[in-house]
Every structure is written in C-alpha cells, then in structure tokens.
C-alpha cells in the first residue's frame, strides 16, 4: 500500500512530510530523553530484521494465498512506539531509495501511513489497553492481531484520502474506499497473524523482551490522553490546511466531488453491503465527467476553475503532439550522443 510519487500532488506530499517530520522529531526527543544509547543499534538491527523478514512469505491458513510481515506493529511491540516509528521510517527510506517503492515525495505519506497509526494509535489505544492487566499469550495474540488490522485500515484509508486530495486520479471516493478497505482487511489479517505468532513466540521464549518493551517501562508510557489531544490537534491542523488548499486550488473540484460522492455513499440504502456489482453500477452511472461539469457551473465564479480545463482546440493539440514527439526524439538523441562521446573518450583514454 505504498503511495507512489506519481499519484500525489506537491502540496499533499509536503503536508505529509511535515506531519511525519513532526512525529519523528517528537519521537527522537522522546527516545533521547527516556533511554540509554543502547537503543540505537537495537533499532538499526531490528529494522534490518523487519526488512529481511518482509521477504519471507507465510501461508495464510485456509486461503491458499500467502502474506508477509508488515512490521509496524511488531516494531511498536518490541521497541515501543517512538523507537518503533523511527525504525519504520528508516526501513521506508531505504525501500524508497533502493526499490523505488513509494518514492521520495511520497515518503512522508508512507511513513505516516505505515508507522504513525500502528505506533501511535493502535499500539497505545488497543494493544496497551488489552495488556492493561498484564501479558499473556492469548492477550498478546489478540492484541497484536487487532491492532495490526486496525492500524492497516487507518493506513489504507489515509492512502485513499491522500490520493484523492492530490487530484491525480478520477477514482470516486466511495469506489476507492470500497476497493482499499476490504483488500487491506485481508492483508491486515495476514500481517496480524504473523505479528501475533512472532510476538507470541518471543513472549514464550524471552518474556523480558516483550515485558519491558526492551527499554524498560518508559517506552510504553505514552499516555492515552496525550495521544487523543495530539490527534485532535493534528486533525484540526490538517483539516484546516486541506480545506484551505481545497478552496485555493483548482483541484478543489475534487474536494467537492469527494464531499458529494462521500455523502452519497452514506445515504446509499444498501450501505456497506453493496458489493462489486454496485461498484460496476457506479462506474456506469456516475460518469465523472458530467458530474464535474455540474460542479464547475456552481463554482463558475471561481476564476481558477478554468485552468483545470485546458482549452480543447485542434491547433494546440496538434502542436503539442508534434512537439511532444520531437522532444522525446531529441531526448533520445541527446542520450545516445552522450553515450557515444563517453565511449569514444574511453576508447582514446585506453
């Protein structure tokens, strides 16, 4: 569920970078204050572990398919939320650089989606809550599964929002949600089961690792109140920024579309029970295009709205097409000639 650079706008990318940087800064401060320096190699090596284990496929019982470890929840369980978040961040940095998974602009989104919800929402609110009366194999199992699943649902929903606010895709909100959430429910179950199995095993063999959260009590001690307050603040700020952005940007259309189709989704009597059939229906009956023209008319006083609709005229299109082809040709020639020059230089150097 990595967000790709191509699917986000600079504003959304930037906002999520800022949010991630904020959470990371908080985490670094917390980790530095609370704990001894032993955590650094531990975080590094654990990050590498998650990276490596992500590549092992585990069979999902009864489905014949296989899944792998996501890691956010496991890191939170083993390292505590702050160190877990930072570790997840470095894993994603390396993936973005070496595998082009996600991308550098979308890195903020990805770190947030995969790290924030598990480490700072479901870990303290669900996992810790289930463990409030002490650890047991069963509690660890249910806690790990539940928080992994819910964490991933948050993450998937976040992906939907970030994509839609970026305005690169025409996919209506409702459809997108209907696509993303169930898929990630399945993935979440897989991840939850593997996380639970691993955490359960560690609990059985080396309880002190889970018990102390490796760094003693401090790491788990994020108070729920703080989390909630923090969440509220984040919600208000991002909400504000988004709505500002929505009104100040031609892509505001998408915002409106999101609103309307979102409402429709809620009002639909079949509700969640609508399945693929209804998605198909929507694809057929909600031609986005007419939808948009209506919106545009209502927004006609918005001067910028026009820019979102580049003039369609044969002349410019033809010029664009011809110029485009020439540009690509030119690029090809440039590349080729650099290559030739280099080759010749090398040959003469030898």
């Amino acid at each position: 569920m990595h967000m790709a650079d191509a699917l986000i706008s600079p504003v959304v990318g930037g906002i999520m970078w800022a949010a991630t940087a904020g959470v990371a800064a908080y985490s670094i401060k917390k980790v530095q204050n609370d704990l001894d320096e032993q955590k650094i190699p531990l975080m590094g090596v654990m990050g590498a572990f998650v990276f490596a284990v992500q590549m092992i496929n585990f069979t999902i019982p009864g489905t014949g398919s296989s899944g792998h470890l996501g890691g956010g929840m496991l890191l939170a369980i083993l390292l505590g939320p702050c160190a877990g978040f930072l570790t997840m961040a470095s894993i994603l940095v390396i993936q973005a650089l070496f595998f082009a998974d996600g991308g550098l602009l979308a890195l903020g989104c990805n770190i947030f989606n995969l790290g924030f919800y598990t480490c700072f929402i479901t870990y303290p609110l669900i996992y810790k809550w289930i463990m409030r009366n002490g650890y047991s194999t069963r509690r660890i199992f249910s806690g790990a599964i539940l928080s992994a699943i819910i964490g991933l649902q948050f993450g998937a929903f976040s992906v939907v929002l970030q994509t839609l606010f970026s305005g690169k895709t025409e996919l209506p909100f409702g459809t997108f949600v209907m696509l993303m959430q169930p898929i990630h429910l399945a993935i979440g179950v897989a991840e939850g089961l593997v996380t639970a199995a691993v955490a359960g095993f560690v609990w059985k063999m080396r309880p002190e690792i889970i018990d102390k959260g490796v760094f003693g009590k401090a790491s788990g001690s994020i108070s729920i109140k703080k989390v909630l307050v923090g969440l509220a603040v984040v919600a208000v700020i991002t909400g504000g920024i988004f709505s500002w952005f929505a009104s100040a940007n031609p892509d505001g259309l998408e915002w409106a579309m999101f609103y309307t189709s979102g409402k429709e989704e809620l009002e639909a009597p079949e509700g969640i029970h609508q399945t693929l059939a209804s998605i198909q229906e929507r694809i057929a009956f909600l031609p986005d295009y007419t939808f948009k023209t209506q919106e545009q008319e209502t927004n006609s006083d918005d001067t910028e709205a026009e820019e979102a609709w580049p003039a369609v005229d044969a002349g410019t299109s033809a010029a664009g097409l011809a110029g485009g082809i020439m540009t690509l040709l030119l690029a090809g020639i440039t590349g080729f000639s650099i290559h030739l020059i280099k080759k010749r230089n090398k040959a003469s150097a030898v």
Binding site: A4, D5, L7, P10, G13, Q32, E37, P41, L42, V45, G47, F49, F51, A52, M55, I56, N57, F58, T59, L78, T87, S90, I94, A96, F98, F99, G103, L104, L105, G167, K168, T169, E170, L171, T175, L193, V194, A197, V198, F201, V202, I209, P250, I283, L286, P287, D288, P310, V312, A314, S317, G320, L321, A322, G323, M326, T327, T334, G335, I338
Partner: protein
Amino acid sequence: MIVMSNIIKSLYNIRMLDELAEKRTFIHNIHPLIKVLTTCVYLTVTVSFDKYELSGLLPLIFYPVVMITLAEIPMIPILKRMLVVIPLIIGIGIFNPLFDHKPMVVLPWIQISGGWISFFSIMFKGGFTILAALILIATTGMTRIASALRMIRVPRLFVLQLLLTYRYISVLMEEAGRTWNAYMLRAPGQKSVNPKAWGPLAGQMLMRTYDRAQRVYQAMGLRGFNGEYNPGDVKKVTVKDILYFTCWAAFFAVSRYFNLPALIGEVVTGVMK
C-alpha cells in the same frame, strides 16, 4: 518451488545500486547534498504538473536521460526495477480512462478522452519519479546520502540508525535467505512457510537478531561510542556543485513555466504551413 529465494534476489538489487555508486563519473563527484536537493526539486516539479498537462511534462525526460548516460548507469536493471513498481501505479491510474470521458485532443483523425491523457500523465510521472530515486542512489550511495542528511540537520540518532539498518540488511537478508533454504530443503512442495512454523521461524530469527544487536552495541561501546556519532570529514560544496544545481533548476523552471513541446510544435507546424 522457489529455487533461489527472492530474498537473495532483492539483496542483489541493493548491492547492484551500491556498486554503481562506487563509480567515479562527473555525476558521482557532485556533492551529495546538491544531488539530494536537485532530486527534490525535480520530483516536486514533476508532480506539480496538472493531470491534463501531458506535453508540457515531456521535456523533464531529459533529466533521467542525461543522468543515466553521464553517470554510466546500465539501463536494463533500472528499467527492470521500474517494471516491478509501475503496475501499482497503473492499478490506480487505469481508473481515469474509465471515469473521465471528456474529449481532450481533437484532431481530424483522433480523439482522446481526458482520462487517457491523465492516465499517461500519471504514467510519465511514475516513470520519472522512479528513475529519479534510483538515479540518486545509484550515483550517490547510502553513506553519502546519510552525510547529506546530516548536513541538513537531520538528527544524528536517526542518521546513525538509518546507516545501521542499511548495513545489517545485508547480514540479515543473507541469514533469512539461508533459513528459508533450510526450510525448503526439508519441506519440499511448500511454497511458503506453513502457519505452524511462523512464530518459531521468524521468532527464532528475531531473537538471534536481538542478541546480535546487543553484541553490536557492545562492539560500538568498546570503541568509545557514547551516542554521538562523528562522521569524520565532510566534503565542502564547491562552485561546480552550485553550477550543477543552478543549471538543472533553471531547466526545470523553464520546463515548468513554458510548454516547450507546444512551442516547438507551433514553430514546426507554423513552418509547415
């Protein structure tokens, strides 16, 4: 049946990029911080194009083309890597032609819906951004990127942890690969790890990893580490680096504000008329 596990294959991908970063070309010698900045500007400019602005986007292809050739990066593995990632982008982008039927390009003989235009624009952006990230790492390497991060004041703790993660990925992926092979040798016919072995297999590896982390920490402590990592000397940004950045930035800015292909096209079609 998996013969050589994809774990080891991924490891080669990492190592290949790492080896490319050891080359010594003009591009490799540019200051890492400058390369990081240039990449950021490029990415931002690329994704800032409106979804229907397809032709204006095209000149940006010069960046990857020039970089790949100047830095002598082999095309095949990079393109392979791209093929792995791009389906995810297609998966989302393909909905645009389904939902957006507004006719956009109207020529006497051809008409394309807006959905297809925005689809191709997403594809190009996807290609460009993926290439930019791979080019950055293949010409800079992890260590130098880390030093660039330090220069922009990313906290030491995070940078050191990033480097350690990177370093141990090699060690642990090899271990994971061997464990996977050992599993498969005694479990012929299975495609992936059976639920009963999940916990023990990953858990066992985790605890070994945990113990290793303790040893690594001790090894660091024995050599005087006290939480403050000193990266040694850092290269200074030179005039050449600034020039490099300015040139690219200027090019990106021009591409962003003028639709170069349209201009060229107009000239050409004008001449033809």
